[in-house]
Subunit: 483 residues, 4 copies
């Protein structure tokens, strides 16, 4: 049995010698830093849920390699049902954490690599798939968190990697040795990077012949020499240093993004999954993106549930739960949220088997899913702020609530409906602030927009996948145009 | 083998002695009336497709009653895969006809009755399910079109059936006899009514004790004595009498709605499926609606494909197919259209088995599906009109194109891109007119809005199904509210 | 006193010898043709209102040329108040006719020509402004309707006029003579063309040196030799031939668009306002468009009022006027409609004096106005159809209501709220059908989209007018970027 | 000359003995507190602009009381042009500060009181208007900032003031004395409260007979005994304590909201403008709201300009300024932003004179304006985040940029287009973060939603103002319904 607990996970990452910078300082103990710890707590939930009897069916799976029960986050999808269960698991975890729990990128990277390394071997006679399977077994047996590192800094986006003023603005191989390769570059906004055991690098875009050195994929431990992490600051991050709880909105959990610097890092051959095969870069990007665009139909719907619940709760505390316009807004929030989920389910149910045996989502529908994710959470937030009322951004601080000179004023004057304690009202308003403009907004808004590719990236894929010629034929036939 | 062809279908309905009024006249030969015939052609496609080897898997099924291959429109869903195939079949037929093909209501009525009559028998000890199964066998063996007659005129919508000034504004039992019941009332906007073999009546709303007589469901042949059909006129219907083709946009196919008058109609007991059990009215309405709200995720996406194809074609004819804003609008049309389809698939894949053995869609998600259908087709139409240009409503008539005095002017001055014949341009513009404001708009817009229940009906169901308390709990937990 | 009545107007256009083709026939008496007459009635209202004491302030003005009281449609705007009154007049006429009353294009053409011919004379030493003023006096003194003819057929839109396979796809000068010019080409979707006294031609786009012959503007009587009109057919046009009233929805009034063919038409020099000055083509297009984009903030808001009123009436007849979701939808319709009006007012109030003395609207804000007009009427229609219910497209015909065999069924079963006669309910539903998919939809939807330029044309203008550099400076300053 | 400078303003408020609590502490020197000071800087700009020769026309006016040149923020609108200039002034200040500059509420309160106290005196024979004019002169002569204090905490919103469990949840008179009144209660989310010289209290809703004690309006110095301010915390407020600049996004300026506690405060009669006249409460609320809903058409458009400029700048830095989808999104942002402005202008241009001589905006159109403000800024933010890219929430901190160990990594890897310094890119991204989820989002989002009344409040007003009966008449007339 290879399923670990959250506690075991935390201890396992504490052992790493990882180089992390945050707010101008190098951290001695990143795992216990108050800004970082809540993001680790979120990952830990992805472990604990695998031992939760209520959820064992969605949270675990049987390894097709070992036959062992494993955490679903390390599983290769072997059926459309697996794809559907993934979406359900992510929604559940979004509900439980109210935030990004950071483990999907790794899962999606593993599944994408399983498809593409298989294809590479078939077409090129390489042995990448075998290497990948060895790595996958290691991950499953040790129940590891993988950081999927795809997004390069990109520099001037109108230029290709090799055209940039600085050739390092996309991660690249700077040296090939007998034992392995040396890479230099960076990956940006890496979700959960500091909380991961392994970093899986992949290219971020289509590559041409001249960009051969940029066609590189590999996996290395997160504390490999030369890896440096610079922590991304988030809206309201400093409140975690204030020693308060209410004002955090969601005190237990948060998300995480970081820049990873690859300062001439050595990677042994057995961990290299692509090294120069530029013609497969697009396939890897596209496959990963398809999986990851599906993911958002789950996790964002789960966070949406939390925000909807918060809106319904504050409506009750404000004494307006029965007002028809409030009820209608809550229906609308749910409508939008369930539309996201429906798209996540649909691209899963319509998935298909790839030559590797791993199931891939329907690419068109997973892009449809993500495109909606770039829109609806914003409208859900707008409605939540509408229902919450202005207090969501004008509340006094928790410290003022604790200050004996002001406590009574706050308690008296911010009382809502008579059954609702003032403090509860403050708590739920802070949760709405968290998701709509604080720590949670990072994941619920900007990540919804840009994670798994910016909206224009989906539109390009949609244009490719819609088979417009077949639709033109339908129209010509019905309108009586011959031929 | 019980699968008929379109031709056989047409002959079979020609034999009926049906009472149809249209434009102030009683029709001798409704099947050959130029306003009606295109709507019959649409239904005929639902027959022909069942013999089309490319589509036999989605278009037919194996009867669980007889083991025979049957048209899927007469099939009881025995799995979630059946539900998914239904959506795919409807999209395909929407693509082939560009219009409402009128056969879903009957299919959805049959499936709803199979669930609810089974439940009634279980709870009340009645024998409705057996009667229903006998009827179903008859339908399957003869491959019949059923009109699902649910919507009563409703009169003053703020009043219950028994409160109306005229008690007949909801269909009701006016007499019970030994051999059967006599019913009086009307059903309005009945899709495909005149083209059906059988009429299946059902209640249209929740009923209370005092509305017992309104709790009535049954099936009767469409030419039963006392049934009178008054044909609903549609936008641009008179063009079908003009002897033209181009100006129809879609000359082969159209849709159909009619009022049915039940002028004291006798129904024998073996065809009665509900007679007074008011407490099951809601269940029947709700089950039917769930199925029918799913349907629109298929058929409307199919019509959407036609409109998208038409928009892409006119863009090409106008010489602007490559303009970035045009391409972006076509992507947006597809995005919206595929979102509808995704919702249709999702509620199917998440379906579940009812006690009767018939599979029912996920009710929440099918309501989400329909709610989107009340919005997106309108936006797709708006974008189509944007791409089409003003000619879509200022084109001269086909007769002017045929008139030697004006033919050359039109041919010369309405020429677009040099490869596109002027006539083709006119044809495709007329198809866009058809779907956006002509015959097709009836099905693509107003039916999208009100068919299977008006938008507010879905919002009521969404509110019921979302389990807001569980969401409140999530929010309270994360914000630290105890209890 | 030069203000005519509607009756005088009708008699004046009856005298013309105009060549009109409609539905494959050349018309002897276009003024009395049942398809055309309602559109003439709409224009006539623009005359009658000028004698209506309630509206004399908005409907008339004092000529700056003659000091006479004139119909505002022939007036040059001499102040921002004139611009505001124009918008109010158009809203009023939209309310009174529920349709396009066809007289704005001429008004906007005259005002645009007054600005641009003045500028041409200043810069080129020409005498166009003097010619224009003579023509304007003639128009004012005889209270004439002018058709503003701008939109060329355009052929392949990716090509310039001189690049087209057929050089006539944009109107052009084919010969210059001592006494005048000869022009060939066509103008399409010409609003009110058949109902006008004069046709004012203008170029439709920016022109370069090689397109010199296409830089042509002039005014000629609508029955000039060589002018041929081919009537544009509209959704539901044939109902006007049916001898019915209710089914028309709006029986008195309709709109009109026609193709005009210029079959080698001679124009004397005193009526020529541009002949080769290609560098002013853009200015004329842009000035006209600015005025015409303002217009829609008035007329479409007026038609919107009618549709809102119809929706509120049918809600009452259906017995649901008090339902919160219905009330909210009516508020939303009004909100959108008033936003259009607000934009029309704003671009007027921010207008400025041009060198000619004529006031021009604020160009950015008039483009904003029109851009909203390409969106909101569609949403208002969607909401109207939502409120109306499915009957809006499934009603039996008026002839069935008149048929003694079906009259009682219809009267009985389509009764709504008890105070509302069934016939009134049918009438209001037909009006909603008219504006949402019938005759009125031509003006309220497609004309809203493409009249005064398609949406992309406004976006191009918005991009030009926003001064993005000044906004970048604001952002750089606040974020602390030096320089 | 009574126009002060920003510096004079700051000195004047430094002298007050005001009781302010922030983050659990009572402040000794609120004016110099790093969290508060930027909000004071914003107010100071409203002073400095009055001496700026470029803006003197919009920023100042001539007092109708004294004939002196005064800051427009203390002026009574004497024409529609004054109303228009107000909107232009607010847009200008939004552009200059990128945030809420807090001075509109006072201006709108003064204008509302001038209208309503005049009416009260006319109808009741009171002398409130005279008292008000004396106060206004004092404000104008000393160029004071007034805090308009309207919003009560409201407790259970389904209950009236006198029905609340705690009678103090709406501000009320607890005692009437010969020299004045004593009031108790609180006002919440008071914009700029701590930065004001005077506090003007007004009721927040319609009041009935039983709520007489709640009908109270007055003005008192902000450091009056018994007034206590508890500072509202804002998203990212702690960054102001970090000693950084870039990470603030907009380091100079911020907004401010605070709770004001009225702990049994005495108000002398000469400063009382309403005391028990409950029947005028609605009029005061409604008049104030109309002015304040107009305001947002100016200030939010100004902040919108900043965000648009930031988006255009980051597009340039990212090397994508020319991409068609980016350009289109910037056009869309402008389109929405100018629509807000157009509504602000329209309600001003359509203003009218009240009996007091003060001009009031058009109430319907000012509600339309605000309703759009509750929507469009959210969409503008969404588009800004789309254009910005994911870095907007994953950037390392300024301290990491300053840390020699990480500085080079950040500078190297976050470089964009080659002409743009990395630091500039960071600055503009932080400004976008500020407005979209940080300090600026408080004003640009939640204040846009709830300031001047929540969206439902506008919908109620829209429903009242639209004269639906006149619209029904239009529809009935055109559809041929008699009477």
């Amino acid at each position: 049995m290879t399923v670990k607990t959250g506690r075991e996970y935390v201890e396992s990452i504490r052992k790493r010698k990882i180089q992390v910078y945050l707010l101008g300082e190098k951290l001695e103990h990143p795992v216990d830093h108050p800004i970082i710890r809540p993001s680790i707590n979120s990952v830990a939930v992805t472990y604990d849920i695998a031992s939760d009897q209520d959820h064992v069916d969605v949270a675990t799976a049987t390894s097709h390699l070992t036959g062992e029960r494993i955490n679903r986050f390390t599983h290769m999808h072997r059926s459309t049902l697996d794809l559907v269960k993934k979406v359900k698991l992510l929604r559940l975890l979004g509900q439980k954490t109210g935030i990004c729990f950071q483990r999907c990128v790794g899962m999606d990277s593993l599944n994408a690599l399983s498809c593409v390394t298989f294809d590479m071997d078939q077409k090129l006679g390489t042995t990448y798939y075998k290497r990948f399977v060895d790595f996958l077994k290691y991950v499953q047996e040790n129940d590891l968190v993988c950081c999927g590192a795809m997004t390069d800094p990109k520099g001037d986006r109108s230029l290709k990697p090799s055209e940039q003023a600085d050739p390092d603005l996309y991660l690249r191989i700077i040296e090939q040795r007998d034992e392995g390769i040396v890479v230099r570059g960076s990956k940006v906004h890496q979700t959960g990077a500091v909380n991961s055991h392994e970093v899986i690098a992949m290219p971020t875009r289509t590559l041409r012949k001249g960009d051969r050195d940029y066609a590189v994929s590999f996996a290395i431990p997160s504390d490999t020499e030369g890896l440096i992490y610079i922590y991304g600051r988030q809206s309201c991050d400093l409140r975690k240093l204030e020693g308060v709880e209410i004002d955090l909105g969601n005190a237990r959990y948060s998300g995480q993004e970081a820049m990873i610097i690859f300062d001439d890092v050595f990677v042994p051959w057995e961990r290299v999954f692509m090294a120069g095969e530029y013609e497969f870069a697009w396939s890897l990007v596209n496959t990963f993106s398809a999986y990851h665009r599906q993911s958002y139909g789950g996790c964002k719907a789960g966070v949406g549930d939390v925000l909807i619940g918060a809106a319904a709760t504050i409506a009750e505390y404000n004494g307006v739960a029965g007002a028809s316009h409030i009820r209608d807004k809550i229906v609308e929030m749910n409508h939008l949220n369930e539309t996201l989920y429906a798209c996540g389910l649909a691209c899963s149910a319509e998935g298909c088997k790839t030559p590797s045996g791993t199931y891939l989502v329907n690419i068109l529908l997973s892009n449809i899913c993500k495109q909606n994710v770039t829109r609806f959470p914003y409208e859900i937030v707008r409605l939540a702020q509408d229902i919450a009322g202005g207090l969501v951004t004008t509340l006094p601080s928790e410290k003022d609530l604790r200050n004996p000179e002001t406590k009574n004023y706050i308690t008296k004057y911010l009382k809502g409906e008579k059954e609702a304690p003032t403090e509860s009202r403050l708590r739920i308003l802070r949760l709405i602030e968290n998701i709509s403009m604080g720590l949670g907004a990072v994941g619920y808004q900007v990540e919804s927009m840009h994670g798994a590719g910016s909206p224009q990236a989906q539109r390009i894929m949609i244009e490719r996948e819609i088979n417009i010629d077949s639709k033109k034929k339908l129209a010509k036939y019905l309108s009586g145009i011959a031929g």
